[in-house]
């Protein structure tokens, strides 16, 4: 689009294998792409599609072995990267090509202050040291929007929020004004409003520096909002490539079509919603003034400070209904789930399940209640015992609640449940690690169904899954609701998903309910400012945004006194 010039990076015929048990497994197969100065190239694909491997090869981050670069070339600004010696190669990293990663907490060194980690970029490339490096690091922190950089520069990574950590990673990456910034899922671990801020920051910096941006993502909205051009990867191959608008409005490859149709992005007509058709009038669960307080002790004799994770929350769930609880991390939505399942105790409040107070239950009543309310957790890897077979995982509820099913029927019923959630009966004798994330979530649902519940609490149950798998799991949940008359409490930070699936939505912020309403109304006319903010934070396609936004104020000054660093000396 803008600045159409020679490609700054041209990757051709890249093929990378990984050795697994001495068998080469092809991770990337004959991948070619290029990116021009000032352009944003999005590499779109689901997990395992090889999108990270191809850019890691460009950054020389693949360890060989187990990696094996079988073929291909990476031409950067006229130089073949694979022919450079180690030191010349190292000198390009950070100076001319920089990279940021998905999880900034893991990717920042925990034992050094952020200031020191930024200064290290200057030192490693002999650009500046000592006082000067520190001063420039402070300017960078200011530029990426870290408040009070004079003091925060001496903080450690764990003392920042997730969004701030990603800003610090970005500061590190742009320190030497690189020609290319590779961003590998930079916003996947972040809340939606923070995601919008980070994407804005990347766009501004790109405009200021004229760098090329390679953005790797699995998120269609992020892709649409950032991309000039898109390449779509699947199973290690590039399956589609073209200008962003074209790929989105007229997908050609079957995989791209499937990906785009699977996206839960809210269709204004709401034709494809999966909301409940028949909701009973009977109230299944009635929560009144639920509150959870934590005491923060700051010292033996200091006065106890109190922190309300959940603050006076009331709501109802009717039979057959899906209640969506939406909020960003720290809003208290998971605390509600844990209390409703009696995994933690509330500070005050009531929860009436079929008229009985959940928090008063004990002994046999509690056992009976536990049977009727089940939970599906976010992490399908961590929430299943790796040493149990699928059969024993699913039949465990029957071992606990003896009256559900006599033992001789277990085997048959496991097969039925597996079929119900779209798996095969002969999967019963396998172990969790033999399944993909989506399949494991199906097993988790089968386990929840085993005790014949009336209410299932899904805590970010699809958040860790790829978008096409998300759609399948949501379809399954919707189908089960119709067939079995289930009710759901569906907790998520992802608005497009609840839009399709929930009947009513509760928006939470800092422990409080800020808005409640039926889904269509809430999305059409959000009353509360916070809800509007959340809705607006969902990225809009780039081609729908105005083209000529002015650069951020002071930006030109920031970059003007920076010499164009980095002759290609090495």
């Amino acid at each position: 689009m803008k600045n159409v010039g020679n490609p700054i990076l041209k990757v051709e015929g890249l093929t990378v294998d990984f050795l697994s048990n001495d068998e080469p497994v092809r991770a990337v197969d004959n991948v070619s792409f290029h990116v021009n100065r000032g352009e944003t190239l999005v590499i779109l694909g689901e997990s395992g599609s090889g999108k990270s491997v191809s850019t890691s090869t460009v950054m020389d981050l693949i360890d060989c072995p187990p990696g094996d670069i079988v073929a291909g070339s990476c031409l950067f600004d006229g130089t073949e990267l694979s022919r450079l010696d180690a030191d010349a190669r190292r000198n390009i990293n950070g100076r001319r090509i920089a990279m940021i990663f998905q999880d900034p907490l893991a990717y920042l060194n925990p034992v050094y202050t952020v200031g020191r980690q930024i200064e290290e970029v200057y030192e490693s490339h002999g650009e500046a040291g000592g006082r000067e490096a520190r001063a420039r690091a402070m300017e960078l922190l200011q530029r990426v929007g870290i408040p009070e950089p004079e003091t925060r520069i001496d903080y450690y990574p764990h003392q920042f929020s997730g969004g701030q950590r990603q800003r610090i990673m970005i500061a590190m990456a742009i320190a030497l004004k690189p020609d290319i910034l590779i961003a590998d899922e930079p916003t996947t671990a972040l809340d939606v409003s923070v995601q919008a801020q980070i994407l804005d920051l990347l766009r501004d910096l790109q405009r200021e520096t004229g760098m090329a941006l390679i953005l790797i993502t699995h998120d269609l909205e992020v892709a649409a909002s950032m991309a000039d051009r898109i390449i779509v990867m699947s199973a290690g191959k590039v399956v589609e490539t073209g200008p962003a608008r074209e790929v989105f409005s007229n997908p050609k490859h079957a995989y791209t079509c499937r990906l785009i149709s699977a996206s839960p992005d809210g269709d204004p007509a709401e034709a494809s919603n999966k909301r409940a058709t028949k909701i009973g009038s009977e109230t299944l669960l009635k929560v009144e003034h639920l509150t959870k307080e934590y005491a923060l002790s700051s010292g033996a004799f200091a006065p106890k400070r109190r922190f309300k994770a959940v603050d006076d929350v009331s709501f109802e769930v009717r039979r057959g209904e899906t209640l969506g609880i939406v909020g960003e991390s720290g809003s208290g939505k998971s605390s509600i789930a844990r209390m409703l399942l009696r995994l933690s105790d509330p500070s005050s409040g009531k929860a009436l399940f079929s008229g009985e107070d959940v928090f008063e239950m004990g002994g046999k009543t509690l056992m009976a209640f536990r049977r009727k309310v089940q939970m599906v957790f976010q992490d399908p890897f961590g929430s299943m015992n790796p040493r149990m077979t699928v059969r024993s995982i699913i039949s465990e509820p029957w071992a606990i609640h003896r009256d559900i099913l006599p033992r001789h029927q277990w085997k048959e019923r496991v097969a039925e449940l597996l079929e119900l959630v779209g798996l095969k009966p002969d999967h019963a004798d396998r172990y969790p690690h033999q399944f993909s994330g989506g399949q494991r979530q199906r097993i988790a649902i089968a386990r929840a169904l085993a005790s014949e519940p009336e209410l299932i609490v899904c805590d970010e149950a699809v958040s860790a899954l790829d978008v096409s798998i998300q759609a399948q799991v949501i379809d399954l949940l919707a189908d089960l609701r119709t067939r079995l008359g289930l009710s759901y409490i569906f907790i998520t930070h992802d608005l497009p998903i609840v839009r399709q699936f929930a009947d009513r939505i509760l928006v939470m912020k800092q422990g409080k309910v800020v808005e409640e309403g039926d889904t269509a109304t809430l999305f059409r006319a959000p009353r509360h400012e916070y809800t509007r903010g959340l809705l607006q934070a969902v990225p809009k396609p780039k081609w729908l945004m105005s083209e000529n936004e002015p650069p951020a104020e002071g930006a030109d000054v920031f970059w003007s006194d920076r010499p164009r660093s980095g002759s290609f000396s090495g």
Binding site: R90, A98, M99, F101, P110, V111, E120, M169, M172
Partner: protein, 304 residues
């Protein structure tokens, strides 16, 4: 932090009291000192006089009460053997042990960090394999055996080094070598493992993407993050050295607290046994506190 040290100290005092009680009664089970200190043909009167002089004629629980009372006044009793304050005897021997322990643990940690880091950085290489075999051998060789073989070869056979005692720098070589060997072997394994997992961490990728030099990645980023497990194991090993390397000190005739402890037990010099235990227990307490504080210094996420 000071409240943390205070809390730890009060807990430790409790365990030291428990330890001293145990030691007090166990030493009394080893037998009657008068059988050792008086000539075989000593009269019954002489024996009674000896017992009464040293309070040994009282019932054991009475002796214990006396001992506790004296402890509160910082009176740790008299050495039967040397006829001077038992604590003085213990404190005279302790620096000898401390010197040996300090050199041995510093040497073994430094060497192990160097060898282990390089082995991890070149995992699978010839160097890594040699380091693996050598460290395993070092960790598994019994120290008394190494000490005796060392004396046979270097002192008796080649006559290069003294067999035992103190005085010249040559007296240091064999005890240090024997005491360094096992900690070195264990630590190489720990360093290598910690470095391998640190080198596979995401922040190492960031450092590589920043263009940081390889030596700085290994020693600046990975090693710095591996120090916690290394400090844990090194602290543990240092504890056992400060405790007095009983066997090695005895074999080489090193006048440290380990040798003193053994001698005092054999000689039924009860007050000296109790004093050596008190000294080493205090040293171990200080060492453990130091290790804990070192954790907080090394990892900004740890606060007390």
């Amino acid at each position: 932090m000071f409240s943390y040290i205070g809390r730890r100290a009060s807990h430790s005092i409790l365990s030291v009291i428990g330890l001293l009680t145990l030691v007090f009664f166990l030493t009394r089970l080893t037998g009657d000192p008068s059988a050792l200190y008086l000539p075989l043909d000593a009269t019954a009167e002489a024996r009674a006089a000896f017992a009464s002089l040293n309070g040994l004629d009282q019932p054991v629980h009475w002796q214990f009460a006396e001992y506790l009372k004296d402890l509160l006044q910082l009176d740790f009793g008299q050495s039967l053997r040397q006829n001077r304050s038992a604590m003085e005897v213990a404190l005279q021997a302790f620096p000898e042990t401390l010197k040996l322990a300090l050199v041995a643990i510093t040497l073994s940690t430094a060497l192990a960090i160097l060898v282990g880091s390089l082995a991890a950085a070149r995992a699978g290489s010839l160097f890594d394999r040699i380091a693996g075999v050598a460290s395993l051998a070092g960790a598994s060789a019994p120290d008394f055996w190494v000490a005796i073989v060392g004396i046979l070869v270097f002192a008796v056979g080649l006559e290069l080094l003294p067999t035992s005692g103190t005085g010249t720098w040559a007296h240091w070589i064999m005890p240090i070598f024997v005491l360094t060997l096992r900690p070195f072997g264990l630590l190489v394994q720990v360093v290598r493992g910690a470095m391998l997992s640190a080198l596979a961490s995401p922040y190492i990728k960031t450092a590589r993407a920043k263009g940081v030099r390889r030596t700085k990645i290994i020693f600046g980023h990975a090693l710095r993050n591996s120090l916690l497990p290394i400090v844990t194991v090194a602290g543990d090993l240092a504890t056992s050295l400060v405790n007095g390397a009983v066997v090695v000190e005895t074999i080489f005739g090193w006048p440290g607290i380990g040798k003193l402890m053994i001698d005092a037990i054999i000689q039924r010099d009860f007050a000296v046994v109790q004093s050596t235990i008190l000294v080493t227990a205090t040293a171990i307490f200080i060492l453990n506190i130091a290790v804990d504080l070192l954790y907080a210094f090394l990892d900004p996420r740890i606060r007390y």
